[in-house]
């Protein structure tokens, strides 16, 4: 139900949302990033195990602009960002919408350290921009954006709160469940926190690197007040390895009866021209939710996903 009154009542949160978007653009443009726009519809979304794309005629709505943005990097763009709508089938909850807004940014020739630094500076900048610096109240507690921010490895966080080590004894469904129910609720109080060094099975499109004798995915997630805000990684640029992962993912998707997408030829070819890069996606609606002290995502978008026509 989105009556005129309900829409009118959202004005202050929507005004804050607009200000946050403005602050993000200001931050990146000031630092020499180029704002880009890539297609919202794609013939070949990135094959992922647990993210489903929605059909748009014979193409798909993007689940992330990732592949297109990396093609720009491979063509020589160094620092790019984009704020765009993305679509994920079947995701609907207090903190999930099937259509939501992502901020993605990429740095050619850099790794995850540079992205984590960006996160700290970006959130401080945005908080200043909307008068939430250095602290503000969310769900009855005080959150602070002031550094230093905690950094947890997946291994330490799981050992501490879930009582097992997913790096040596990985189990897919147990990992997801414990992450959501046991680990996430502790992360990011009162300052944002990073969760780093994922098991290789959770690498997605991230590069693997050795840490303390084990292979880990050079991937991190940013949490604030228990809310997952961003997922960043050092991009896998090894074409063969990426093709192998896509093949395996598509085979698993076929087996599970999920959408099996066409092969992303152009993206894979572009990896031949990309040595090192890092990229990150941040959920804009969730950040607005925190900064506007809103209980759900429905409160920070003008029209919630199941609004009446």
């Amino acid at each position: 139900m989105t009556s005129r009154n309900a829409l009118a009542a959202k004005r202050s949160r929507l005004a804050l949302r607009s200000r946050i978007l403005h602050g993000m653009r200001h931050f990146f443009v000031e630092r020499g990033f180029l704002e880009v726009q890539t297609p919202v519809r794609t013939p070949a979304p990135a094959p992922e195990d647990h993210i489903d794309a929605m059909h748009s005629e014979e193409w798909y709505l993007q689940t992330s602009p990732e592949l297109y943005m990396k093609r720009l990097l491979a063509a020589g763009y160094d620092k790019i960002f984009q704020i765009c709508p993305v679509f994920r089938k079947g995701e609907r909850g207090r903190r999930h919408h099937p259509e939501f807004t992502l901020l993605e940014w990429y740095r050619r020739g850099e790794g995850t350290e540079a992205l984590m630094q960006d996160c700290q500076e970006l959130l401080q900048h945005v908080c200043r921009f909307v008068d939430r610096f250095p602290q503000f109240s969310y769900a009855g507690q005080v959150l602070s954006v002031f550094p230093p921010w905690d950094r947890w490895t997946v291994r330490t966080a799981f050992q501490k709160w879930a009582g097992w080590d997913p790096l040596t004894a990985y189990e897919s469904s147990r990992f997801s469940e414990d992450l959501v129910t046991r680990v996430e609720p502790h992360l990011g109080f009162p300052r944002p926190a990073f969760l780093c060094d994922y098991p290789p099975q959770e690498a997605a499109l991230a590069r693997l690197s050795p840490r303390g004798g084990l292979q880990v995915a050079d991937r991190f997630e940013l949490y604030w007040a228990g809310v997952e805000l961003a997922n960043g990684f050092s991009e896998l640029t090894d074409r063969e390895e990426q093709e192998r992962r896509f093949r395996e993912t598509l085979a698993r998707r076929r087996q599970d009866g999920r959408n099996v997408y066409p092969w992303p030829h152009r993206f894979l070819e572009s990896l031949d021209f990309l040595d090192a890069a890092a990229g990150i996606a941040l959920g804009v609606d969730r950040l607005v939710m925190l900064l506007s002290d809103a209980p759900t995502l429905d409160d920070v978008v003008a029209f919630s996903p199941d609004h009446e026509p």
Binding site: G90, E91, S173, V180, E202
Partner: protein, 192 residues
């Protein structure tokens, strides 16, 4: 047989059949780590026993929708610990045990219309109107001036149900009661 549901059909209010018993999803949350599996966290309440528990489901899980049906019934009479009802359109009679009637027995008076819930064709319980009217059959006279004690006194209603009522209530008064809370709302008719 109920319809087959998938995890994405789960939400608050959906009724499932698990191990041959009907369950209501009383609380529901969808969650999903960025690159991980979707989790459908449910708080389930057994619609017969009332027992609640939490369970997490994943995409790919399949469910049976509980085969439930509601019929309007009129309460007729009680015989021992069995309560007799009649379907208001088919005039068919159905009896429920005291256990199945539960706390609703405190509010059942002859000819009261209730909704009866059937699971796979068998009655499992009734839901009452939110408000009912019952006559006071026993209540000691209020002690005048004794307002310090909370200004209520016990009263026994025609169903045998005992509640706290204001001091001015007398035997023979008809009271309006909220069946959801089991409490006094107002006096609708005085005894004289």
């Amino acid at each position: 047989m109920g319809a087959t549901l998938s995890a994405s059909d789960l939400r608050k209010g959906v009724k499932l059949e698990i191990d041959g018993e009907p369950y209501l999803i009383v609380d529901f949350e969808f969650s999903k780590p960025g690159k991980g599996q979707a989790l459908y966290r449910c708080r389930l309440r057994n619609m017969i026993t009332g027992v609640q528990f939490d369970r997490t489901y994943r995409s790919g899980d399949k469910f049976l929708e509980a085969d439930l049906e509601e019929q309007e019934m009129e309460y007729l009479y009680r015989e021992g610990n069995r309560y007799h009802f009649m379907n208001t359109s088919s005039y068919e009679q159905v009896e429920l045990t005291e256990e199945a009637v539960g706390d609703a027995k405190n509010f059942l008076t002859e000819n009261l219309h209730v909704d009866m819930l059937f699971f796979k064709g068998s009655p499992i319980g009734i839901s009452l109107p939110n408000f009912v009217e019952l006559r006071v059959i026993k209540s000691d006279p209020g002690i005048k001036g004794d307002t310090a004690s909370g200004a209520t006194k016990p009263a026994t209603l025609e169903t045998g149900y005992e509640i706290q009522v204001p001091l001015f209530i007398e035997e023979g008064d008809v009271l309006k009661l909220d069946t959801r809370t089991g409490t006094y709302v107002e006096r609708v008719k005085t005894s004289n």
